[in-house]
Symmetry: C2
DNA sequence: TTTCGGTTTGACCGATCGGTTAAGGCGGGC
DNA sequence: GCCCGCCTTAACCGATCGGTCAAACCGAAA
């Protein structure tokens, strides 16, 4: 995929995209000036505009790459059937794995949401399928309305996953331990699976 | 409290602080230029520097106000004793109520974390007490290590609360409903309490 | 060899940024 | 009436921002 993009319009465009990706994750949209992007890519600033037209389109390009990857990773996990529990565990794993493999992604989405109303649409398109899949997967065991509706669990579960990563630098300081280490990630993953099972058991009791 | 600050150095300083607070929540640190802060406060730009010295100190002032309020709200909720469940429910309510009463706060913290390593320290000081209280409250029923350790529930619970608000504009679009409405807030609060009870029941079973 | 179209560059633009400065109100004590 | 200290302002500073442009480069077709 990345190789295809490198040859699509020359590898310099790919270097620019990669630099924009890195800087967006490190210092945010406002901090990542076109000049710094060009410098990191080892390229003249005007070339960035030649390839991508404007700052907004450049970073939109960066986000769409993640969006597509995120989408396909979760679609794959959802397509295969199984019981409610199996599908939830698989969705959870897919979401978790995707973020581990794309460590800049959660901070990036977080920046978009925090930046205000302007970029809500993009995040919305990103979140909508995940929301619908989880709603469908849960529909067998949750009521349609009220505190136990699927939409509540959507916020709770996705928050439990993504917050671990977005707050990771803070957690590293509060705990005496790197939240990105292999053991810490395994522990978090096990916690999430326990959470799914416990919530499902609680829902069964509530009926 | 606010009245005390208004008279401390004249009400113009308070107007500047309020404008800075609003803009920080609306358009972020980088977007909130000193000129715009001054305009919104109805004041000359140089006056902002006269009172607060620099942009960084101005917004640090804004954050410290929230920090103190957050701290005291949760300390109050924790001080009173009771069973594990009672303390957890009270902490949850206090956290939730505080955010409802300070709607710009979560987006503000989110921006700090997203902005990179620079502001981690402030968020850390903010989160550390909450972490320790929840850890202490949970210590009776959770193991010290592994997937059911208190630190895991800290991330899960705080994420379940704060994510509802930070993703609120996105959720409004995905659902056909305003997440900030009275009924929606009540429903979310009930969900969180159900979550606490269910997790506690699950922990009791796990022993 | 010349031409040509895509690529790359340095120089430049107006706007805005955070921050400074010197000078003007302006009310209260002498 | 004058002076002093706090408040407030317009004007200005250098730096950086996103974006433009005309010229130079360069490999392939003719």
């Amino acid at each position: 995929m990345r190789a295809a993009e490198s040859t699509e319009r020359g590898e310099r465009a790919a270097r620019i995209l990669e630099a924009a990706d890195e800087l967006l994750g490190e210092i945010g949209y406002d901090g990542a000036s076109m000049g710094r992007v060009a410098d990191r890519a080892g390229v003249n600033k005007a070339l960035v505009f030649y390839y991508f037209g404007s700052k907004e389109r450049l970073f939109q390009h960066v986000l769409e790459r993640y969006y597509a990857a995120h989408q396909s990773a979760l679609a794959e996990a959802f397509r295969r059937g199984g019981s409610v529990g199996e599908r939830l565990h698989r969705l959870m794993d897919a979401y978790f794995d995707f973020i581990v493999a794309n460590e800049r992604y959660p901070r990036l989405v977080q920046q978009l949401v925090a930046a205000g109303e302007r970029h809500v649409e993009l995040v919305q398109h990103n979140l909508a399928p995940l929301f619908e899949w989880l709603t469908e997967a849960l529909s067998e065991v949750t009521p349609e309305h009220g505190p136990l509706a699927a939409r509540q669990f959507f916020v709770t579960f996705s928050g439990a996953v993504i917050n671990y990563f977005t707050y990771s630098p803070v957690l590293a300081a509060v705990w005496g331990r790197d939240p990105g280490s292999r053991e810490a990630l395994d522990e978090r993953r096990a916690h999430l699976h326990w959470l799914v099972d416990t919530v499902l058991a609680g829902l069964a009791d509530a009926e």
